[in-house]
Amino acid sequence: MVTILGKEVPNQLSELTVQQFEDITTIHANQELDAIEKHIDVFTLLGVPEADWDDVSIEEFKECVKQFNSLSGKPDLQPSFEHMNYTYTAFEDTFKLSVRDTKHIDKVMHSRHKGYISEMLAILFKRTDLTKTEHYTDAHIKLKAKIIRELKADIAVPYLVEVGQKLAKQIPKDVPSEVVE
């Protein structure tokens, strides 16, 4: 936590929820906002009202942003989590990204809709008592994504990094060529 204008603001991945992390990602992806507006919207989201910045100098504002961006530690990939007596597992020994999971993630990433991060995690984490078919049904993915949004962001970020790296390495970038008319 950092104190911004007298308010306790979560800034560490272990303090932010996946939902908050997704909202912050959405704000930063909004190209209609400039850098200052983005930071103000993030602070508003986390409990610092926009009006509180009215009398704050730009130097003070920069310092607040610096404090907020100061992250400690690098979370590891968590193989599983528990929720309501169910176990959701992404891997046992070593994390592998299967073709099936990648196809589903590809679909989610392509749509870039709000909440795609939790849906991506919902594809990776599978409830141990369910079958392969049930893992990927739309309704079940949505339900898991809802559960994941309440978890802390330190479960999500390592997967985002890992999956991003694997996809960047494995997915061909060449686009199909066409006869040009």
Binding site: K96, L97, V99, D106, Q170, I171, P172, D174, S177
Partner: protein, 244 residues
């Protein structure tokens, strides 16, 4: 699992199947579907693999991101390449039809118009079979032909078409000189009627042309469609320029 190494191992039917998969928006999914089509195995069989394993396979089929050879063959079995400058009006209209759709999906239809049976007449000249067959029936003859043997006719036709359209540009523009492809947004109801009429004229463009060339005598339809394309458009150009 055997994977082809280049387009030289792909036939027209497989090419069409692969090109159809290009419409899949998600890059990874598209690559997997193409991989399974080339390996001739269901994509489900690949789904339990780790992506690092399939990436090795994908690396072997990078040729799919390039075009097949443009050096087409002049003879395919009993079919011979018919030079584009000998196209008839009917052949051109049908080629335009297939090119206006997804021409990659109509390689066989296009090839069946451009490759024809031949015979030698009593003067020792090569005579091409008349265009009295339906490409929609004959196209399958080319299904098992290597795509490299016929693909080049596509860019060649497109280049020919561009040159043709430039030469006869005045026949493809309206009286006011505007391009027929121009999109107009009507403001008044009269303008809306004019746009609707223009669209209708465009829809029936070739039929109108043939009907006019037949002097409104439909029994001459085949005679007109068998006319040389270049001769016909030369005459139309002359008529327009001299206003006769």
């Amino acid at each position: 699992m055997y994977l082809p190494k280049s387009w030289s191992e792909i036939d027209v039917l497989q090419f069409k199947e692969i090109r159809e998969l290009y419409s899949i928006q998600e890059v990874f999914t598209r690559e997997i579907e193409i991989l399974s089509a080339l390996a001739d195995i269901p994509s489900d069989d690949l789904e339990d693999l780790d992506i690092s394993e399939v990436s090795e396979m994908l690396a072997k089929i990078t040729f799919i991101n390039s075009e097949p050879s443009k050096n087409y063959k002049h003879t395919i079995g009993e079919y011979h390449y018919k030079p584009l400058n000998t196209l008839t009006v009917g052949e051109f209209i049908d080629l335009e039809h297939y090119f206006s759709k997804d021409y990659n999906q109509h390689v066989g239809h296009i090839a069946s118009i451009i490759y024809r049976k031949v015979m030698t007449n009593e003067w020792g000249e090569t005579v091409y079979e008349p265009y009295e067959f339906k490409p929609s029936i004959r196209y399958s003859v080319f299904d098992e032909v290597c795509i490299n043997d016929v693909y080049g006719i596509l860019p060649e036709y497109l280049a020919y078409r561009e040159s043709f359209m430039t030469t006869y540009a005045n026949l493809f523009t309206d009286e006011d000189g505007s391009d027929e492809d121009e999109d107009e947004v009507p403001v008044t109801s009269d303008e809306a009627k004019a746009v609707a009429l223009k669209k209708s004229e465009k829809k029936w463009g070739w039929e109108r042309l043939i009907y006019s060339l037949c002097n409104e005598d439909l029994t001459k339809f085949n005679e007109v469609t068998n006319l040389s394309l270049i001769m016909t458009f030369n005459m139309l150009g002359m008529k327009k320029e001299l206003n006769v």
